[in-house]
Amino acid sequence: MSALLDVDDLRVTFPTRTGLIEAVRGVSFSLGRERLGIVGESGSGKSQTGRAIMGLTPPQARISANKLAFDGIDLLSVSPRERRKLRGKRIAMILQDPKYSLDPVISIGRQIVETLRTHEKVGKAEARDRALAMLEAVQIRDPSRVFNLHPHEVSGGMGQRAMIAMMLIAGPEMMIADEPTSALDVTVQLDVLGILDRLVSERGMGLIFISHDLRLVSSFCDRVIVMYAGKVVEQLKASELGHAQHPYTRGLLNCMPKIGADRHPLPVLDRKPEWAA
């Protein structure tokens, strides 16, 4: 199986008043047509890794890598024009909170149609039909009503489904989901994950699922990368999370309260400086 995405020694550096800050410090992995989870706490560089692949790193930041290639295309040397063609068409991204990542003044339907017509030559009527079909695919019960609604008129779960529809309509081969369900209620969370899971496996897409929730990721993904202070500390199969080797992964699993486990006080993470070295 050839890899869809190859990342080798990715570094993202931000210049600040007090010197350079390395948010991502030498991350390497490859992605096939599978579900890969990237887990870490805030500041671990998981989101910046996703953004660097998508090409959404702020302009003042510097990206370097031995290799950052999507389907053989070198993402570091490609022109902005080529990059724009990839973004949305072949690589899609779902963001955390639909309240902030959808355009508040354009109806949901028009936003979906816009994505489609940016990347494909289709007529208005056909674009509308395909958008409606896509809304139906993400289990929105009354697509023609939701099509005309604005983002503030729908719930969080509905908004997130609309965003998934928007991302999938151009038929991407790889999807980056950055905390796609953190802003949602637990029960809605599972619905949205179920939809994502089905669509990803039906279409044979590669998925990068970025989250702070180790347990959720391990129940959803095939493989998990654990990041700490900009580095990958451990890579393992999701099914083998119980046998994690690194003390950080184990600590992270341990410190969450569990239903039925009577542990007072909760074990806390004892951060070792050598983890970040």
Partner: protein, 249 residues
């Protein structure tokens, strides 16, 4: 024994929207009581109504046997303090930790402020070194510790906790939960805690109430929830959801 908090058929109405539809609640002194539910279930509104931050339309609230009127007096706030969800929003950005902690002392006319501030900071595990910092110089967990110190400085008997750890990383969450348990034990506090996370509530509380769209669904002991002896489908759904994602073949 008089209840620490007794809420009787409380109604809260925002404009025409009924956020709470006749909810009753009874918390004993020294008890830790949890409120669970999804967003919009009214759990935070109930907490805010007790603190005097939501428009009560009808029903009654009594704290330590004393029925509360429409306005809360100073004595109420010496008994009841609140810790909010977002430590990034609940601390004044232009005040130092010292200034933040002095505010409640000044309002209530305490003379021994110096000593109390030092003790409060020690108690939440922040040394004197943090005293003259601004909140933007602190991490999320440190900020929440400051918010807890501010709530404890008046030595209240009841703490209202509105999702105190949901803005924090898992490892920091564990530290803050441990701190809360520790101060509760030491000071024999009564907790009323809101969370959307069943695991946190079963860890922290002895009893809990499940809420849905402004109504109480059921009252449970934490042990019953752990053994999954629940009677309502809604609670069962929440329990199942908190187990994580299960792939349907």
């Amino acid at each position: 024994m008089t209840s620490a908090i007794a809420v009787d058929r409380l109604e809260v109405i925002f404009d025409r929207f009924r956020a709470l539809k006749g909810v009753s609640l009874d918390v004993q002194p020294g008890e830790s009581f949890g409120l669970v539910g999804e967003s919009g279930s009214g759990k935070s509104t109930l907490l805010r109504a007790i603190a005097g931050l939501a428009p009560v339309a009808s029903g009654g609230i009594a704290v330590n046997g004393k029925t509360l009127g429409a306005r809360r007096d100073k004595a109420f706030y010496r008994e009841v303090q609140m810790v909010f969800q977002d430590p990034y929003g609940s601390l004044h950005p232009r005040q130092t930790v010292d200034r933040l902690l002095q505010e409640p002392l000044a309002i209530h006319g305490f003379a021994d402020g110096e000593k109390r501030i030092q003790r409060a900071l020690d108690e939440v595990g922040l040394g004197n070194g943090f005293r003259f910092r601004y909140s933007h110089q602190l991490s999320g967990g440190q900020r929440q510790r400051v918010a807890i110190a501010r709530a404890l400085i008046l030595e209240p008997s009841i703490l209202l906790l509105d999702e105190p750890t949901s803005a924090l990383d898992a490892s920091v969450q564990a530290e803050v939960l441990n701190l809360l348990e520790e101060v509760r034990k030491r000071r024999k506090l009564t907790f009323l805690m809101v969370s959307h996370d069943l695991a946190i509530i079963t860890h922290m509380c002895e009893r809990l109430m499940v809420m849905q769209s402004g109504e109480a669904v059921e009252n449970l002991a934490a042990a019953e929830l752990v053994e999954r002896r629940v009677t309502k489908d809604y609670t069962r759904n929440l329990l199942r959801a908190s187990d994580g994602f299960v792939r349907t073949a």
